[in-house]
């Protein structure tokens, strides 16, 4: 499908690192746009007024939200992760919403960078590496106690260790996969429904009334659902990152 295609915009001939081409793609363009919008949004709230205006209030709501999320799931040790989780949450949130914007009306083709496993996979690998680095730096080899919950009977330890290890190693995969599939499934659903509208409208009066109009009504409802899913998936990604950081900080 065309909306998921990654195309090089420029630099496809001569830009390369170690033999790999690093052309500036449309995915990179929308990532840069997302970061630019995010910086614009946050810089509007950095006035530090005693009585905040609307914009500052909006930014402070988000930072307070991330702050309380870390405080409830990690505890007082989680304070130092607020910048990382805030950037992660806001980047995913902005990327999801920019991909849903009806920019096709003005001729732009919006690209949802979170509908690609390459983008979400890197984000989840970053979260996973932070968990590993923090865990081994704070607890040393005692970090492996994460795989043996308290009160496990001695005979069960080899089995529980393997099960916990697998569930730990699967985390970066499931974290990235969830976001990418949720965003891709929503866009595929909207595309399928819009194809019903177009071919139903071309098919004559009967198919227009029986297929195109109900599909269009469903599209409106699904778009509202997608707005909800875009927010929830960004929240879930940030929340699960907090839960994994809690494992690294506090070892269960």
């Amino acid at each position: 499908m065309h909306q998921f295609a990654i195309e090089p915009l420029f630099g496809s001939n001569n830009w390369s690192i170690a033999g790999h081409n690093i052309a500036f793609t449309n995915s990179a363009l929308w990532m840069a746009l997302t970061v630019g919008l995010l910086m614009l949004f946050v810089s509007g709230g950095l006035k530090r007024q005693l009585v905040p205006g609307r914009w500052q209030m909006a930014v402070e709501t988000f930072t307070g939200f991330v702050d309380s999320m870390l405080a409830t799931s990690v505890g007082p040790n989680g304070k130092k992760y607020v910048p990382y989780v805030f950037s992660l949450f806001m980047f995913i949130l902005f990327a999801n919403y920019i991909g849903l914007m009806p920019l096709g009306i003005v001729g732009l083709h919006p690209f949802t960078l979170t509908s690609h496993f390459t983008a979400t996979g890197v984000l989840s690998i970053m979260a996973f590496s932070i968990v590993l680095i923090v865990g081994f730096a704070r607890h040393g080899l005692h970090f492996f106690a994460l795989f043996v919950p308290h009160g496990t009977p001695l005979v069960m330890i080899p089995l529980i260790f393997v099960v916990e290890l697998i569930s730990f190693l699967v985390r970066p995969f499931s974290l990235g996969l969830r976001l990418f599939v949720a965003m891709m499934a929503g866009h595929v659903l909207l595309e399928v429904l819009s194809s019903f509208v177009i071919s139903g409208g071309n098919g004559g009066a009967l198919t227009f009334a029986a297929a195109a109009v109900p599909s269009f009504a469903l599209m409106i409802v699904i778009s509202a659902l997608e707005l909800l899913v875009a927010g929830i998936q960004a929240y879930v990604f940030a929340l699960l990152t907090c839960v994994y950081l809690n494992d690294a900080e506090n070892l269960h």
Binding site: M69, T72, S73, L177, R178, A185, I232, V236, L239
Partner: protein, 76 residues
């Protein structure tokens, strides 16, 4: 059976998983609501756990979507 037909059938069967995950997600939110209406004061503190449960239930449905996509686009 023709391999092409088997692929499409398999993708269709994978859609059953999406429906089962819908039951799971509904159960998560329904039980949360049932508990929240009994004790509304404690409900806000449990939202994080609600979304962790939602994410775990939803992931398995999304995996079945991935299986369908792999069957259609990847399997030759």
């Amino acid at each position: 059976m023709d391999i092409e037909a088997a692929k499409v059938l398999g993708a269709g069967f994978a859609a059953i998983g999406c429906g089962l995950a819908a039951i799971g997600v509904g159960s998560v939110f329904g039980n949360f609501l049932a508990g929240a209406l009994r004790n509304p004061g404690a409900a806000d503190g449990q939202q994080g756990r609600l979304f962790i449960g939602f994410a775990a239930a939803e992931l398995l449905g999304l995996l079945s979507f991935v299986v369908a996509m792999i069957l259609i686009f990847v399997v030759k």
